[in-house]
Structure formats: structure tokens, C-alpha cells
Subunit: 199 residues, 2 copies
Amino acid sequence: MADLYLALLHHPVLDKNGLVVTTAVTNMDIHDIARSARTYGVRAFYVATPVRALQVLAAKIMEHWQTGYGSTYNTTRKDALSLVRLERDLDGIILAMERETGMRPRLVATSARSGPNRTTFAGLRSQLEASPDPYLIVLGTGWGLAPEVTERADVMLEPLRGPSDYNHLSVRSAAAVILDRLRGAGYEGRSSNKSTPAR
Amino acid sequence: MADLYLALLHHPVLDKNGLVVTTAVTNMDIHDIARSARTYGVRAFYVATPVRALQVLAAKIMEHWQTGYGSTYNTTRKDALSLVRLERDLDGIILAMERETGMRPRLVATSARSGPNRTTFAGLRSQLEASPDPYLIVLGTGWGLAPEVTERADVMLEPLRGPSDYNHLSVRSAAAVILDRLRGAGYEGRSSNKSTPAR
């Protein structure tokens, strides 16, 4: 079973007009996605921004919950945020993963748009079960990943869909659903009777 | 197929010590959960708070996106927020649904805790397919719904689980995953080739 890693890129991503921009780092993105990553067994959650001031902001958020007041106020939050790593960009993430695992990750790009050569969730689950390589799921902020990222991907994942044509989920919600589809227990309708800690 | 409705309660919910409290209404909760509700075909998303000042705040957020600057800046956000209704509490929601649908909804309580008599997601999907009644999925803020709410539920849904014992998802993430498990397309591994609007 392949190890799963997650990346949230703030550059290069698209704005609503399709231009390549850099978005701001959002406190809630880091918290929500770290908690989802921890719940679904992700090995590390990389937050990438090229903006030095936003790297400092992200580091402060993490420090508050790792060693500051938050670490004793809410220990489950500390557990989740211990998965977060700060990097400058996708290349920095890949280098960090190579240093950590000794292997180059397979890149999985995500998009809310349909298009050619999309891999289904069932298809990706099969790949994960058979592969010894680590897999990096790459999420974009703003209006999604720029083509220069998706063009590098080994896997282009199909968009999430409900019963309608509307699929404008927040990146926080999309991250949770993608991880649940790949690693959720009870996903096939199995019932779990293990005891569970409180939320 | 039963119509799905969603409720987010800010009272009565538990705090980290198990006491019944009222939590603050959060802008991000309304936005994220409204977008998930719209994506997964929910008929209405009820936000309940007994605090008058927070009802006014929530109404202002909605007005900004419905008729204010936000309605032209981001039309997909307007679509999502058109599903939001403000109510005082669970009884207010049930009354509103009875007025709207002519039927009393079946109540589905959610919890991150396991316990007796939990209904699996597969079990709830079967109920939804067979039932003519509307179903109201009830989510709690803070550390989850107080017993006085869960005791009234017709269905107590099993907790979301990944591969570990940690399941501290945000209520925003939990809402998205619950809706995806109940109404997601491609959930059984089916591939979709319909065209999709941009996120």
C-alpha cells in the first residue's frame, strides 16, 4: 500500500479569470486540511507559498498549536498540525519527500474540471494498493492548479461530483472528500464497531 | 428518493468538557457547508442560533452574497448561499420544513463518537432510496450535538472513520464527506464523462 502525502499550493494557481496568481495562506485551510490528513492516515501535509511573509505567518500558526498555548488547550489539534510542513513550491516539496523517503513521489493533480485522461477514484485506489512509491495529492487554492502543475502530474484525478452540474466545493471540503474516497473506512458500506474518540 | 435537508446547530452543543453551550456562528461554516449542500443536491441548509445578534450577523453575510457586492463578484457563491435559511433552533427548523413540505422530516443525528444503534452509511442510503419523507441531517458545532438532540433522532449515523482511531474532522469537512457518502456521483467507482463547470 502506497504512502499518501498531501500538498496545498498557493502558487501557481488560477484566479477567476484564468490568470496565474499567488493566493494568501489561510489559517482555516491549514487547520481543516491537517485534521483531515491526520484522520485519513496522510504521512505529511505540505503547505507551499513563495511569499516569505506568509511562510512566517504559517510558521507562527503552527508554533501556537505545537508548543504555545494551543498545544495544551487542544491536544488533538496539536496531533493534526504536527503533520504540516512548509515549503516554497512544488519542487521544494518533491525534494523534501525524496530526502525523507528516498523515493520520488508520483504526482496526483486534482481539478474541479473534467477533461481527457482523468483517472477515476476507483482507478487511483487500485494504483495505491499495488504501488511501492509514495503518492503526493496536489491541491490548488484560488480557482485551481495552473496548467504548468497539472502538466507534470502522473495522475489527473477525476473531479468530485454530486447529483448536479454544480461542484464548487471549498478546497477544505474537497480535500476531505478526496481523502475519504481514497482512505475512508466503511466506504463500501462496511460497519465499524471499534470504539472511537470524541470529535 | 427522499429529499435531503441539512441543519447546523449552535445550541445545544457540547464543549470540550462535555458541558452544554452555545457556540458562535462562523462565516466559514456557512460558506463551506452551503457550497457542499449545493454540490450534493441538498434542498435547504438551516443555520440555527438562539442568539439574536448572531442571527443578524448571519443575515448580513447572506445579504452580501445574495444582493450586495458579492452577488456579482462570485455568482456560484450566490447560488450556494441561496440554500441557507436562518432559524432559532431545531424546533424552528422542523416547523419551517413542515410548512414547506407538508411533512415532518426524519431526523438524522451525526456524531464523531461510536455507540449502540448506529446506522451505517449504506443503511441510510437504502432508507433514502425507499422513503417518501424528507430527511434532515443534523450537524453540531463545538464538540458535537448535546444528548437532548441525539435522543430525538430517528437515525443515529455511524461516525466517519479513516484508517486510524483519530477522527477529529472540522464540521465543515464532516458535512462534505457525509454528503458525498450519501449523494456523491462516482462513489461506487463509476466514471463520469459529463462536462463539468470550473470550480
